[in-house]
Symmetry: C2
């Protein structure tokens, strides 16, 4: 056991505050990591405030974790002390179901173990996330991170990055494709970077004219204001793919109409209530909608390696952990370009 | 021009009644067909009653047409007098857009010309459908029908058949797949036949316990009552594909949950208002929804050839054209197993 400092929510209504606890021993397959940076995901707010139900308190949020290995169990093969390691949204899964066997642990038939607000398989103890000084994780659920990348920008790759990389790869986005990215936030800004890196012609679809300059800096070739009717009419049947990152309530129909024959809308945002789908908008051009959840360990590693090769990281605002409650308020207003990342040195 | 007897709607509110008109001359690329049978599609009712807007009166419905060639234009290559021919939902398209060029005329960028309630490209005259003694169509939009098949059972293949065959082929349904068919009507009964013929394990999903015996006769291996909670719970994450033929209002969420990882719901029914899609149900197993509209000429011919080879036709109730208004009322109640087909001899 090792003393760990953290910031935690003690209930759905109290601000996050300092919290000390004991991390589990480093088991034979585990590595212990001194956390350097932890990204702040919008789902942290939902879970801290119990907006999805079932929250476990005290809760140490954070599933976009980058740190340095300080200890390795005696069966660990792929990590050594001093390596840079990353932890994403889950730290275990059943390892035996068809999804786990095929590298899709995020869809584990028996439920993945979330990095926080979950329960460890053997002990049933709560899992505590990355707003903390250290974490202990089985090496099979740990990623290798190139020390050449800007590490604060790597943290959000573990969730926002893989959430957009995985479906763009799954549907085969590449050269010759017209891709629309709907919504420029933590997910959207990574989607623009990846789709452009894969060779697609990328259009940012946003309701905020102020985001045009940023979208183009991120790699978007075009910007389309979704509130402008003429613009939207001109984009009917235009895209091969639309990556929809919007988590506010909206109907899918308007955006389905922007897809060409066989076009696909990828849904990664989760609006609070179900979205409407007019069947005609799907049927008239054999359009489709596909959902996607983060990515498996193998693909997350592939993404990190791709990012190292192409020097891709998230655009972040680094904060001290003491600023976390204010950061949440800014995120709710959409006031962050494009991800807050906690400098864990502020906890020590 | 040639005198043609038909049944037509004169307004959205009057019953169909006898109607005589002149068919166009048989042009150099046209064939003239003496219609033998015409299937009755639910969309006939919607258009007769102007429920989709824009209906053209008088309207001669019918787009599931089988007949015998009686005349051929001097440039016609593939048909001769005496051949059995079929006409489906459209009789022309722009022929030049990417969709037309790739055999997806149903998604023509400039709009296909519907077999009825449309307008001919050159003359802008209304098109009149198959509740009539004869029809004149360009051979490129005409299908070859094997005279060995029961012709009254072939008529519905031109719409209900291809509407289900095409998406099952597009998504690659075959051996080893678990396929659910939602709704046992004109579309559903063909979906069961095709999915079973392609080698899939087929489950009929229906709210009517009375349909179990029929579903199994049609080739379904299993029957699941959608109102039974235990049955539905047992089918969570079960199917690779669900073909959703339901045109009544319903949420897609319940059925998405029956799909396994990477499972796809194919939508061919058009509910009167948009359906709800909870994003979580898509995201949690990388599930998708795809729409599909009838099929192109090449694939419709492929389906008819497949049906001839495997002796597949629709299960039909043959009626006289004078019974059409009563047939509509029965269709609205779902009281037909599984398609009405008009014996056009009753018009002569």
């Amino acid at each position: 056991m090792s003393a760990t400092k953290a910031y935690a929510a003690q209930s759905p209504t109290t601000p996050l505050s300092p919290f000390n606890f004991e991390r589990r021993e480093t088991g034979p397959n585990d590595i212990k990591i001194d956390i350097l940076y932890c990204g702040v995901c919008h789902s942290d707010i939902h879970q801290v405030r119990d907006e999805w139900g079932g929250s476990i308190y005290p809760m140490v949020p954070g599933h976009e974790i980058v740190g340095r290995v300080t200890e390795t169990g005696n069966l660990v093969k792929n990590f050594k002390v001093g390596d840079i390691a990353g932890i994403g949204c889950f730290v275990d899964s059943c390892r035996t179901c068809p999804n786990c066997q095929s590298g899709l642990e995020q869809y584990c038939d028996n439920g993945m173990v979330a990095t926080y607000n979950g329960r460890e398989k053997v002990t049933n103890n709560p899992t505590y996330g990355g707003y903390s000084t250290q974490i202990v994780v089985d090496e099979k659920y740990t990623l290798k991170v190139s020390p050449n990348l800007l590490l604060e920008g790597v943290a959000p790759l573990l969730c926002a990055g893989i959430t957009t990389y995985s479906p763009l790869r799954h549907v085969g986005v590449g050269k010759g494709h017209k891709v629309g990215v709907l919504g420029l936030g933590g997910l959207g800004h990574m989607a623009v970077k990846f789709a452009a890196a894969f060779g697609a012609e990328v259009t940012m679809l946003s309701s905020s004219p102020s985001k045009e300059a940023d979208a183009k800096k991120l790699g978007a070739h075009h910007f389309a204001l979704t509130s402008d009717k003429a613009t939207m009419n001109g984009l009917q049947n235009h895209f091969d793919f639309i990556l929809n990152t919007v988590s506010a309530q909206h109907s899918y129909g308007t955006y389905l109409d922007l897809l060409n024959t066989n076009g696909t809308m990828i849904v990664v945002g989760v609006p609070p209530t179900p979205s409407e789908v007019p069947a005609f908008n799907l049927i008239m051009k054999r359009r489709s909608i596909i959902g996607s959840l983060i990515g498996g360990i193998k693909e997350t590693q592939e993404m990190l390696d791709y990012c190292a090769e192409h020097n891709i990281v998230s655009d972040v605002e680094v904060i001290n952990v003491q600023d976390i409650n204010g950061a949440y308020e800014r995120m709710i207003k959409g006031d962050v370009r494009y991800r807050f990342v906690i400098d864990i040195a502020s906890l020590k």
